[in-house]
Amino acid sequence: MQDNELDIPRRLIVPTDSFYYTNTHEWVSLEDKNVVTVGITYFAQDQLGEIVSWKLPQKGQILERTQVFGLVESNKHVSDLYVPVSGEVVEVNSSLTPGLISDHPMSEGWLIRIEMSRENDLAQLMDPASYKKFIEKELEALS
């Protein structure tokens, strides 16, 4: 996927292929079988601005859906990250840089990979169309 290839405001970009979304602005992408990649959405990054620091769990850690698993922060805000699906952390993005996470939050700037312990957790998440509606509502509330 190419970042920002479309001529729409970046914060409104909601990639559709195999992405699921939370109402706390994390994205989940199903890699194979029961392993998912997790990151923050363009909307989240745009609201935060340049991300300069983050705290992530370690490989092997068991996470429960909706618990806080880490944080990202910009000069403006600290933002907690919430576990979108329960499972074990099988990989942490070790090549993360402020540039990667700020410029490509939905590709190279991914955060962690989780091996799901309950597959139907995905069904609890928003599909791209619902998430798009959700962020448009948030934007309205902000303006």
Partner: protein
């Protein structure tokens, strides 16, 4: 955000797609494009800031100098016509009520104070409680634009003739048929000007500056720019619980007269306001985060901090026990449950390219 005030430039900011946030009772632009780019553009070229929210107080009275000498900390007696100075107002306990710029329009009877937006009412009330001379709130008459950066003079020359103005001098000049007050001052450390523009002209001036390719700058960059210079921000960095001397602002307390809070200001205290940088990977040191000694003793707290866009480091300001204030002194800042090793460094953090 219903009851928040807006500046005459608000609609223009919204149209440009600026991110708007509430700030001390005003709807202000946080960033226009990207705070980091905005910050660097002020360091490298020139940026313009909407600071129309600032409060302006006009003191025109034969006893103006006499009265102001009794409430302001700096040496107003030495201030000549068309000069301005950084000064503070304190309460009886020596606590800072506000910091401000004082413009001498005509010594000894005509002065203008530019105060922080959130403190305008408080300062008016305070002054009126201590004097019956003429003190007028003229905040609603004036908008204000700051032009800051190494190319600010080049830019301003296309509109005004500022060549005779040295640092902390000001003059009046015409734009669009109205008198504007232009001072060579700012809050970024860079060369620059602050222009008081009548409410009904400030949008024209803003649009004119934009048409000359000036970058509009939001509050986020304004904050990191001032932080790199260790300029205090009223509220997070100082308030009525701290004295100018503790803040290292005794250079702005040279008033030889007896001003309110003077004695208390100069009483020996055990705290100092220092600049530090974090020596390891960490989060951002934020307002009110605790500072600990190597022996895990609580020695103070962070007043503000950020990831410095110019230096690409975590930097911060903290009010700490005096014993921990000398350069090179190490301490820990508690950030998200971790203790981040930090060190007192020389300030300003950012050294200007001269």
């Amino acid at each position: 955000m219903n009851k928040l005030k807006t500046t005459p430039l608000f609609e223009s900011h919204k149209k440009r797609g600026a991110k708007i946030v509430p700030f001390v009772g005003w709807k202000m632009p946080l960033e226009f494009t990207n705070a980091k780019k905005e910050h660097l553009s002020v360091r490298e070229s020139v940026g313009i800031f909407d600071v129309s929210h600032m409060g302006e107080i006009h003191i025109k009275d034969p006893k103006a100098l006499e009265f102001l000498s009794s409430v302001l900390t700096n040496n107003i007696q030495d201030l000549k016509d068309n000069h301005c100075q950084y000064t503070l107002m304190c309460n009886e306990q020596g606590g800072v009520l506000d910091d401000m710029i004082l413009y001498c329009l005509k010594k000894p009877s005509d002065y203008l104070l530019c105060v922080n937006a959130g403190n305008t009412e408080k300062i008016l009330k305070w002054m009126r409680a201590h004097s019956s001379i003429s003190i007028e709130d003229v905040s609603s008459k004036w908008g204000q634009i700051a032009v800051q950066g190494p190319y600010s003079k080049t830019l301003i020359e296309k509109i005004f003739q500022p060549n005779h103005l040295k640092k902390f001098q000001f003059d009046f000049a015409d734009f669009s048929g109205s008198a504007h007050l232009i001072s060579r001052t700012g809050y970024t450390g860079e060369d620059g000007f602050e222009i008081l523009s009548p409410q009904n002209k400030v949008l024209d001036l803003w649009e004119k500056l934009l048409s000359l390719k000036a970058n509009p700058i939001g509050l986020a960059a304004r904050n990191t720019l001032r932080l790199e210079m260790k300029y205090p921000l009223y509220g997070p960095d100082m308030d009525e619980t701290v004295s100018p001397v503790e803040m290292g602002l005794s250079w702005a307390c040279k008033n030889k007269s007896d001003f309110i809070g003077k004695e208390a200001c100069f009483k020996k205290t055990q705290r100092r306001w220092v600049g530090f940088e974090i020596l390891e990977k960490s989060g951002i040191p934020r307002t009110s985060y605790s500072v600990f000694s190597e022996d895990k003793e609580l020695i103070g707290n962070v007043t503000s901090g950020a990831f410095s866009p110019s230096l690409e480091k975590m930097i911060g300001l903290a009010l700490v026990k005096k014993d921990f204030s000398e350069q090179g002194r190490r301490f820990f800042v508690q950030i998200h449950g971790n203790l981040a090793l930090s060190q007192v460094v020389p300030t300003p953090f950012y050294v200007l390219n001269k």
